[in-house]
Point group: C2
Chain length 427, copies 2
């Protein structure tokens, strides 16, 4: 019970530095009866100031050399990036029979299936709780707790930066560009925010969740991804008038046709827990076919990933062996993506039209011809909108029908720009 | 990896029957690479109709004999009750070196410390996810995910029957007695509802959570328990006018003086996730000192406990070894209860007074003399209340001050009955 586990940490940014500090402050961090001690590190700069003195630790310029070092028992990868040194080091560690703990969502979403084969062949854990939802243990819930049920789907808010931006736009009436600039000044958004605001970060996370929930190989390439950079303040206001808030919803659903993994800015009814999830919070619904709906919510930023990585180290120390995803890696089902055109759902359509007679008639006639069944219709003058906004919500219809209608409405003479489509979340 | 685990199940009620059915329908239930097969059962009646044919399974009249049978690898206890055959069988199984899975909250809350010593001495798991929050994995979160943080406290709604009754009273304006009778007819409440409505069930659950969160020995006897049987529809209405809903809040807090475990009907601000937790749902906040607040919510009834027991069986099959609570059983800290009089918090006080001049002056003077600092004050005529209700909320004050004030107000000539005290939840 008193075994010492030597930990090698590659990447000493916020999470890595925090982990070193946590383990240094807790000589008694021994949840499974052993002791976890960081003995070796690797990072880009050896001399950068850090929260913990690393002069007593073995130093590796090359994370791959650290990963295979006979002097470590667990390799912790906190370098980041789906390829390059992170991938090389994790592969090397697994091939050398070392358990791996990582916070790298891109790596797992893009190469998780192959890495799971390596881990299971070597009979060592590959854990990545820190990759999603900060300290809220979504991975553990899907991988371990839901084995007594079948997951029908998951849906939630997985990117704190996007949720912060959407919440601020809504509360302050500020534009996307203004709030983004402020978030960057405050350190809530990266200098290059593409991964976050483009929806790619949320897509990485929900791709991993689909594999954990459904036992399919993660297939990031099959995810349907739309970010928040095209969300207009006008739509946030109009959605509010209709009783909704706009949130970047990431979802994974098991359907008879395959698995649908999607990230879209979506309308969520006010009062719904996801609509009321504000700021940098993350939140997730897990729908079990027998248990029903479980909801989890927690900070998407802060000390969470550090705590999650520490919990993963503790899990390694328990000696537990389970598949990396919901089924053994060699038996993962292929992830058959559902064609976007086959999606059926409710939608929000917003047009900008000229202020002239007969426009509503022309629009409604086109919608009727296309077979779009309308749930609500609103024309509302808005200052500085550059036209008169017409907004409508539909009953559940096929996405192909909607696309056809949008293409035809765009061509009407009184319509000023391509109608804006937002999905209404089904959750 | 293809090891067969022979499961013995004692108790074939809803959870036990459901578990047999689940495992029978899933020959592929092999999350950890093994196979779980029920081979032996014990129950009160051998001939009662069940969802699964048990004629092919070994039958034991005595659950203790099943628990020690050399033909089982895991003992699942679903008998219930803190003592008697459930306790005898679990003790026997652990002493015989069998891993134990149970849904028995009373057993773990009242005898968990001694059972943990037995389990850890035998180096076998003792798991009880099914004891709390149905299929929402609160035990796993506290035991496994929070090891990378320190839990400052937990607070939530842990009894679905009480939450159903309070929600119905609020929504339908019906009395406690009427809603309880209906809940019993519908099967939502037991024929003898004392464990639920008396707060004991919630207290068992939060006692277990305190041990998981703080690494103290579970000490049910130290819990402060108040049920919902004295919650008056009048208070639900007055609380609503003040912007609150009444919920049975179970909480465990780590304080400099010790651990405070409490169950009280409490006022929760409208819009707060616990106030919006309705019907038979369960919900819990976990406050990590570094991560921040995590919220989980899920059905408190239904197939959850069955799924949780199945997940526990899967956990046993992984070979994981960790302490039963947050620290090894021999090193659990004593659970030092905080004296109720030392509690400081905001409160709701409701009086019924005679409709005569000078009453408010007399009440406010007494409150001022006692040093009760008032936050809001409301006198409101209510039909059939048997007097005029005066309701006030206080700033945070010591419970001893409040008790003194209540004792003195009760003696005022114009006051018709002992003032009713409800806590305002701090969450």
């Amino acid at each position: 019970m008193s075994r010492v586990w030597k930990i090698g940490v590659a990447g000493l940014g916020t999470v890595g530095g925090g982990l070193l500090q946590f383990l240094a402050e807790r000589p008694g961090f021994a949840p499974a009866g052993g002791q976890a001690v960081v003995t070796a590190v690797s990072a880009r700069s050896r001399t950068r100031p850090r929260p913990v003195d690393i002069s007593g630790l073995a130093w590796f310029d090359d994370p791959v050399a650290l990963a295979v070092s006979p002097d470590i028992d667990i390799f912790v990868e906190l370098i980041g990036g789906s390829d390059g040194p992170a991938k090389a080091a994790v592969e090397a560690a697994l091939k050398a029979g070392k358990p791996v703990v990582t916070a790298n969502k891109a790596l797992i979403a893009e190469h998780g299936a192959a890495l799971a084969v390596l881990a299971e062949a070597a009979d060592v854990p590959l854990l990545f709780e820190a990759a999603v939802m900060g300290g809220t243990p979504a991975v553990k819930m899907l991988r371990e707790a839901m084995v007594g049920d079948d997951v029908a789907g998951v849906a939630g808010i997985l990117n704190g930066t996007c949720n912060f931006i959407l919440s601020e736009m809504e509360q302050r009436g500020a534009s996307f560009a203004d709030v983004l600039a402020e978030a960057q000044r405050m350190g809530y958004a990266e200098a290059d925010p593409t991964m976050d605001i483009g929806g790619f970060d949320a897509a990485h996370k929900v791709t991993i969740m689909a594999a954990l929930a459904f036992g399919c190989a993660p297939n990031f390439a099959a995810a349907e991804i739309e970010g928040i950079d095209q969300v207009d303040l006008l739509d946030i206001r109009l959605a509010r008038d209709l009783g909704y808030r706009i949130r970047l919803i990431a979802s994974a659903d098991r359907t008879p046709d395959g698995v649908a993994v999607r990230v879209h800015p979506s309308l969520v009814a006010q009062g719904h827990p996801l609509a009321e999830t504000r700021g940098a919070l993350n939140a997730l619904f897990i729908e079990g076919t027998r248990i029903g709906r479980i909801f989890i919510q927690g900070p998407g930023a802060g000390a969470g990933p550090t705590a999650a990585a520490a919990a993963d180290i503790a899990d390694v120390m328990t000696g537990a062996r389970r598949p990396v995803f919901q089924a053994p890696a060699v038996g993962l089902k292929p992830f058959v993506a559902v064609a976007p055109t086959r999606r059926v759902g409710k939608a929000y359509l917003r047009m900008l039209v000229k202020d002239q007679a007969g426009v509503i008639a022309a629009v409604s006639e086109t919608l009727a011809e296309c077979g779009v069944s309308i749930d609500s219709f609103m024309q509302k003058p808005v200052e500085d909108a550059g036209g008169v906004p017409i907004v409508l919500t539909t009953h559940a219809i096929a996405e192909s029908v909607l696309t056809d209608a949008i293409n035809r409405i765009e061509k009407l003479p009184a319509v000023l720009e391509r109608p804006r489509l937002l999905r209404i979340a089904r959750i």
